[in-house]
């Protein structure tokens, strides 16, 4: 995994660089103590698979950096302050590492993230799929992607809203997002995945599909903006 490290503390960088050298799954590409420089690099380079990202940094903190990213690498948050965990959760980061970071914690996290990385690659390979099957009334019902308007998470269930009606399936939106495997589907909020082809308009922090106004969370807004053609 092509990896960069972002932390304003050079002791943390020194330790993580050493751990990277000793980890075959990691190709360490660069380290940054300045988050603005890291953002420039990421937005130009794009081909980065994994970031180890500190949150508390001067000028631009880690979450502000994520807000401005135009690519979507896997992110591991490194922090000594647990209070950021909830906010970072909104950004669907791959994992957290509490400082000081030992090699053992680093190893476990890299293994977990590598699993996610492999899943992502499988998803990319299967993105030619054009339909999904939902289980209902003891049957598997074929739903072409083109019929899907959006998915909404409601408790332990997901509502599949299509042009022809509603299906309710068991499960979590996160695992559905991994299975959907098509660039037209985008998670715009922790409770919604939308079909980009069905959006009527986007206004501030919401979008319209049919008559449904769907919120766009702060954490997902840049991904939405980068997924549509604005002329």
């Amino acid at each position: 995994m092509r990896t960069i490290l972002i932390d304003d503390n050079n002791m943390e960088i020194a330790a993580l660089e050493l751990y990277c050298q000793k980890t075959k799954m990691i190709q360490h590409r660069a380290s940054f103590q300045d988050s603005s420089m890291a953002l420039d690099y990421l937005n130009k380079e794009q081909a980065i698979d994994l970031i180890f990202l500190d949150i508390e940094m001067p000028d631009m903190n880690g979450l502000e950096l994520l807000d401005q990213l135009t690519c979507a690498p896997l992110v591991v948050i490194t922090t000594s302050n647990k209070e950021y965990a909830f906010e970072a959760f909104e950004y669907e980061v791959a994992s957290f590492l509490k400082k000081p970071i030992s090699i053992r914690k680093f190893q476990r996290t890299v293994e977990k993230v590598h699993h996610l990385y492999n899943q992502r690659n499988k998803v990319a390979l299967s993105s030619m799929a054009s339909e999904l099957y939902v289980r209902a009334d003891g049957k598997l019902i074929r739903v072409p992607y083109d019929d899907v308007l959006y998915f909404e998470n409601v408790g332990d269930y997901i509502k599949v809203i299509t042009t022809k009606g509603l299906h309710i399936i068991n499960g979590a939106l996160k695992s559905l997002a991994e299975k959907l495997s098509h660039p037209r589907f985008l998670k715009v909020h922790r409770s919604y995945i939308v079909n980009l082809d069905k959006i009527i308009d986007i206004e501030d922090n919401s979008l319209l599909i049919g008559k449904k106004v769907i919120p766009i969370s702060r954490a997902h807004k840049s991904l939405v903006i980068n997924s549509i053609n604005i002329v």
Binding site: N9, M11, I103
Partner: protein, 138 residues
Amino acid sequence: MPITDIETLDHSDLNDAAFLFHPTLDQAFLNSNYGANLGFAKKMFSVFLVSTPKDIESLNAAVEANDIPNIQALAHKIKNNFTWVGLTQLGLLMKEVENMAKQNEVCISKFYIEVLELYQKQLLVIEKETQRLTDHLS
């Protein structure tokens, strides 16, 4: 991915484990974090000596100017440095400086002077430990 694809740093055969850190340092953290890899410990102690005095100098200036946002940011940064070299108690005290800055407490300067005195004593210990590590590894 199997664990065997990762080269761990704490193999007992990397260095001999005969080196004992100074008793005022956090033995539990140092032994658990560096294991027998004294080369890694030496590197982190050396980085500490390069970066922390500069950070402390900046923190001194921030405290003198009562620059609360900078005090908070620098104390946050420095507390983690202390942890890496086994100065756990100083790390906790620096966390207290950070918390005091967050709450804008007026007695921060007085408290910081005491922390600074302790830091200056412990800095000598870290300098000696770095030299001992260098000698041990050469």
